[in-house]
Symmetry: D2
Subunit: 241 residues, 4 copies
Amino acid sequence: MSEALHEKLERALRDAFDASTEIYKQRGFQRRIGFGSRPALVSVDLANAWTRPGNPFYCGDTMDNELIPGMQKLLKAFRDNGHVVVHVTTAYQNTDRNDPNTDMGMWHHKIPVEAVNLKDEDLWAIDSRIAPIEGEYVMLKKRASSFSGTPLAGYLRSASVDTILVTGVTATACVRTTICDGLAEGFRTIAVKECIGDRVPGAVAWNLYDIDAKFADVETVETCVNYLERVSRKPSSMAAE
Amino acid sequence: MSEALHEKLERALRDAFDASTEIYKQRGFQRRIGFGSRPALVSVDLANAWTRPGNPFYCGDTMDNELIPGMQKLLKAFRDNGHVVVHVTTAYQNTDRNDPNTDMGMWHHKIPVEAVNLKDEDLWAIDSRIAPIEGEYVMLKKRASSFSGTPLAGYLRSASVDTILVTGVTATACVRTTICDGLAEGFRTIAVKECIGDRVPGAVAWNLYDIDAKFADVETVETCVNYLERVSRKPSSMAAE
Amino acid sequence: MSEALHEKLERALRDAFDASTEIYKQRGFQRRIGFGSRPALVSVDLANAWTRPGNPFYCGDTMDNELIPGMQKLLKAFRDNGHVVVHVTTAYQNTDRNDPNTDMGMWHHKIPVEAVNLKDEDLWAIDSRIAPIEGEYVMLKKRASSFSGTPLAGYLRSASVDTILVTGVTATACVRTTICDGLAEGFRTIAVKECIGDRVPGAVAWNLYDIDAKFADVETVETCVNYLERVSRKPSSMAAE
Amino acid sequence: MSEALHEKLERALRDAFDASTEIYKQRGFQRRIGFGSRPALVSVDLANAWTRPGNPFYCGDTMDNELIPGMQKLLKAFRDNGHVVVHVTTAYQNTDRNDPNTDMGMWHHKIPVEAVNLKDEDLWAIDSRIAPIEGEYVMLKKRASSFSGTPLAGYLRSASVDTILVTGVTATACVRTTICDGLAEGFRTIAVKECIGDRVPGAVAWNLYDIDAKFADVETVETCVNYLERVSRKPSSMAAE
């Protein structure tokens, strides 16, 4: 898409969002859900198949300059303050599109999920720039939402989590469904603006707009980092004296 | 939003969709899932609170001229051919926003769900123009998705359904989440174009675009009606002879 | 079943439980999960169809002398201390066993769930001796478990609950499945001994034995009441001064 | 437990079951759900940690003489006739009981699930006597039920399955919860008598009794094999001519 068309799209979306916001405000939508007291990071599909060039799932746009650096800041704040981190990825045992018994279920009838076979660990491994550390849960999913067909909701409840910060790709699919389910499962849900990507023009903008209107607060990395430090679960050195 | 801005938005979205489609096609997205052999209609939130003027949830735009007439054609085809019909609606027992124990869960922190109290049956009753008939399941939900916190998936499985046609409002919230979950739960999922609405500019267009790329086939009422007649579960009069 | 056979059964079960406990202890089962800090009561199917004579679901045995009085003590402790109370009941819109589209799903192929039609409100209404009060959630389910096809897990999470006390009938079906799911969904789960009933000999004993070994702590009403007073969410009158 | 006590237990349980069956029959319980037209095998936790001596989960009793031979006959019938087979096993990434963020959730507070770490593949690998073959789904779960926190229900629906035959260990926990959930998710559910085990006296008997009364038909391996051959999905050699 040409630079000129991009600009037209951005302007048109901005106008649409302004008009929508007027309607939403009149009717009481776009409320703030706010941060709770026990956060977890749910980082969706930031595995090589999505973060590194040369794969059907690659989301190039802001990956190297904005998304990964934002994730690095977030991860530091989560880890320094003793909060829960979950890394989610996606892969399949049986990627034969003609086998009716494949664990891809119905999804390969819409998108090329057959590209990620469990045997190709390099494809579904979390990007090394934001690699999991000892004790962080790396959760394999089969569907778009990190909550669909996974133990995530029960896991977060048993870890006393009440708030989830969601990052990753894509805004259109796995991130948005994770956010919608997060709210439904009873968590205060936050979408971290710079850490959500996609691979087609406009998709991040309109999906974050919809999300902020109805499902989760969209907040910057900076706001999130400030919050994470405020609710530290680590005993301070003061307290240790 | 002025007519001129609307036109600019439509043109800009069309350009964005064209550019995205090029990327999606190259990478193997936007496949057709197709119709299966045992369909059900899942009609979401076409209750008075959403279909009749004067309520925070009213989705006026295409309601009277396109959505309801489309639904009437669909319902006739479902009923004439003996297929399963589910009407979904949303309401709450406790609409006190200050009570932490409300069955609204977390959602009233984002949108005005307190507007639909179970005691106001007129609000959550299905619109009389498309009223349920004897034997059709009217299912109450609390969250956006018709599958979230409901027995819908198991119900459809026990009725031998393999395909769902999804209609209703809004494209942004309850329809989109229902469609994403429908696919995840193993159903061939179809979004019925003219029978899906919303209340803000552009939202139907971009949500159907995302849906068609990754979660469900978007099909017209006419295509759906033709299909429903083709897979009739009613014994034909021929067969009865 | 004669008194003599009852005694023989009890003795034989006691011996079996002793032998099993030895094995379980050696292998590290039968641990204590303990009470958390934010309890909710999940009271299952204590509606007239189960609590009052003359219905296929009636569980007579200990109902009037033990279960209902125990529930009254528990409810008082929950309410006096500001804790969450959920009353669960079961009923169906379509109780035609020959209709493949009934919301009974598959269950009427095993048990007579067709006995509880939604139109007979008196049948599925909570027993008046333990009637819900304003603000308490009365939740309708279709399956055995209170978590299956309901918004219960998300509801409890949004109310900040970390512990559930489960009561009701029957030990074999709705209570046991609710308890197993409660643990899986991340809640500290407690089975309240005197407040769980059934309708056939031995069933309460062996189901509570299995539950205590693997899924939940079985505790008396007295222990539960003491706990509920200790974790009061109500500000004390002291604090108000 | 001595042979004499075992006999007393069996006799007492038989009497209790007889008395219960009388009550159940009067009230319309213990119905037959029957076999459907598209079966799948759901084989639960027949991995080395449960099937081979020297582990906290070992279920010795009937394992070598009855359960494994029964499974071999069943597997042959499933495979010869082209039916779906799912092998379920259980293991954890983080088996530190003191880490509140372990993926064991709440379960290690009741039973020693810390014994099965994902790194010890030999422990959670399916027993080699009934090893999975190419294309059969090996599904990892974290909770008791094979449906809890897994994509199983959606997987089975997308494979057009309407009937599940459940086998494995233990009757008390993972098998029983899988069966209860299977029914709730809309599948005709069959418990295969000789292929279900446990590790404590009486537990198989009373759990299968409860299951047959309310959740699934208990059937022998022979009956199941006959059924599997009758509903073959493989084109017969006749048809191939």
